[in-house]
């Protein structure tokens, strides 16, 4: 992933992971929130750094007819020109001094993941019984459906007793 895609991806995965954690993983192990963050950030950061340093060669994406990455500094070109894979080529070439910005952007991955995670927590809750602010804004039909389902389950449980 290039820089902008990486930042957006971090935010979205932070959000998604927060949801998965609340819904499925916290019940198994409360530390899953840290495991998920470590797995995702390390994986993405490592991949993007390797692309930037041209250890992972990205010229293979030239197989797509709308992509044209130059063979020199292909990794940096790929990283600075976000959305290449979607057909947007801004033609930004690496200049001296841009490496410093690249370092800052790589560091900011962690923060974007954190923002996404926080947003997910805000929207979906943190503990299994919580529903976040979705509770207030969810459609009334969904709320009523959930409530009726819950009431049926409780009636069933009571009659089994």
């Amino acid at each position: 992933m290039s820089f902008l895609e990486g930042l957006i991806g971090n935010f979205l995965f932070g959000w998604l992971n927060s949801y998965l954690y609340r819904k499925y993983l916290r019940k198994r192990n409360k530390d899953w929130i840290v495991f998920l963050a470590m797995i995702f950030i390390t994986g993405l950061l490592l991949l993007d750094i390797l692309i930037y340093l041209e250890i992972v060669d990205m010229t293979w994406v030239n197989a797509l007819p709308w992509v044209n990455i130059p063979s020199i500094q292909s990794g940096k070109y790929f990283m600075w020109n976000s959305f290449l894979l979607f057909g947007l080529d801004l033609g930004i070439t690496a200049q001296p001094g841009m490496d410093v910005f690249a370092v800052f952007l790589f560091i900011s991955y962690i923060f974007w993941y954190y923002f996404g995670s926080k947003f997910g927590k805000f929207l979906h809750g943190y503990r299994p019984y919580q529903q976040g602010f979705y509770l207030i804004f969810r459609p009334v039909k969904k709320f009523i459906k959930d409530r009726e389902k819950r009431m049926k389950e409780e009636d069933k449980a009571k009659s089994n007793k």
Partner: protein, 376 residues
């Protein structure tokens, strides 16, 4: 001294607490408790099942030998007459009302207003009005949002019992009309009535009103502390703990100075943001501060109110109830600030005088009894 007392609405939240309080503190009082027959109650009190599956009041208390339970329906005069046949009561605690913001005004009028009229009709014909004390349960809701007097810095001064009626919703309208019926009978028959106007009630076993705030904070996992600027616009939180409410009712019944008087029953003034912060803390939920300018906050709250209005409309179409009743959403932008000085001056001491003690007692009970979900 031996006394015969009638508690109507005895199967409800406040009713059961009043019976419990009398049993705990007045061993020589004989209680005649009454409420709707089981099926009728289920039909009318839809809120009791919808808002909490764990719902249950302390109705087992009615099986105590000091209590005699006689079912009655205030809208059917014959059933009330049964209650008074061959009995001379010393005190009547008239709690019975349909407390439901979702109910239609016509239903509320039939139960709350006409029901009270029926009750007073029977009382005026069968009871000794020279000795009978009548404690009438009203609500602070009859004031609506009063025009507050301001102190020198521009902060609103809590409204006292002389504040004129301005009921904002159907329930409050029915309670205002109910008060007027009682006042009318008091004048005509010299009924020794005392009016109590409680703020929204909190306490164990409660599943409506303040319970919704607790449920929302607990389920959402967030308590949002909206800090309104300018400070003088900050909204107050009016509350009363159910134990204080029933103790005050008994206290007033025993004080003749309260005859013909009205009393607000509310804790000392506090802000909504302080209450929410403390609630979030007790419920282990996240709390965040959000400073906001009053006009923007008001516009946003009105937008939420409009959303809730739509939800209510949809729910009515689907023949069910919305997540939160509309009248409760109005608390987010109305200033409800009431004074408890009058009852304090009479010598009543609150067991839970502030929001912290009342909230702590309630939340701890909910968590201990799993009425609010928790991991701990």
């Amino acid at each position: 001294m031996h006394k015969l007392v009638l508690v109507d609405g005895a199967k409800g939240h406040t009713g059961t607490y009043l019976v419990k309080e009398i049993l705990d503190s007045k061993s020589n009082w004989k209680i005649i408790a009454t409420d709707l027959p089981v099926n009728k109650r289920k039909e009318i009190m839809t809120k009791e099942r919808v808002f909490s599956s764990r719902f249950k009041y302390m109705t087992e208390i009615l099986e105590n030998e000091q209590v005699e339970f006689i079912p009655a329906d205030l809208t059917i005069k014959d059933t009330i007459e049964n209650l008074f046949e061959n009995r001379k009561f010393d005190i009547i605690f008239h709690i019975a009302s349909l407390y439901d913001y979702f109910a239609e005004l016509s239903v509320l009028r039939t139960i709350n207003v006409e029901g009270t009229r029926n009750l007073l009709d029977v009382i005026s014909k069968s009871q000794d009005l020279n000795t009978l004390r009548f404690i009438h349960w009203s609500t602070c809701g009859v004031y609506g949002e009063p025009k507050y007097k301001k102190d020198s810095k521009g902060y609103p001064i809590p409204a006292d019992e002389t504040t004129p009626y301005n009921p904002p919703n159907n329930y409050s309208i029915s309670k205002m009309e109910q008060e007027q019926v009682v006042e009318d009978y008091s004048k005509r028959y010299n009924l020794k009535a005392t009016f109590i106007r409680p703020a929204p009630i909190m306490g164990p076993y409660q599943i409506y009103g303040i319970f919704h705030i607790m449920q929302i904070v607990n389920k959402s996992g967030f308590g949002s502390g909206i800090h309104i600027y300018p400070k003088k616009k900050r909204l107050a939180m009016s509350l009363i703990h159910v134990e204080d409410l029933v103790q005050a009712a008994i206290f007033l019944a025993e004080h003749d100075e309260s005859i013909g008087e009205t009393y607000n029953l509310v804790i000392d003034p506090c802000f909504q943001e302080d209450f929410l912060e403390y609630l979030a803390d007790l419920l282990n939920a996240e709390y965040f501060n959000f400073p906001i300018w009053w006009p923007i906050y008001k516009a946003f709250s009105k937008y939420l109110f409009w959303l809730d209005k739509r939800k209510e409309k949809k729910a009515r179409k689907m023949n069910t109830r919305p997540p939160v009743d509309l009248a409760m959403a109005a608390y987010t932008f109305h200033q409800y600030l009431f004074s408890n000085e009058k009852i304090k001056n009479l010598g009543f001491n609150f067991k839970f005088p502030d929001y912290k003690s009342a909230t702590k007692d309630t939340v701890e009970w909910y968590l201990k009894n799993n009425w609010l979900e928790s991991e701990y």
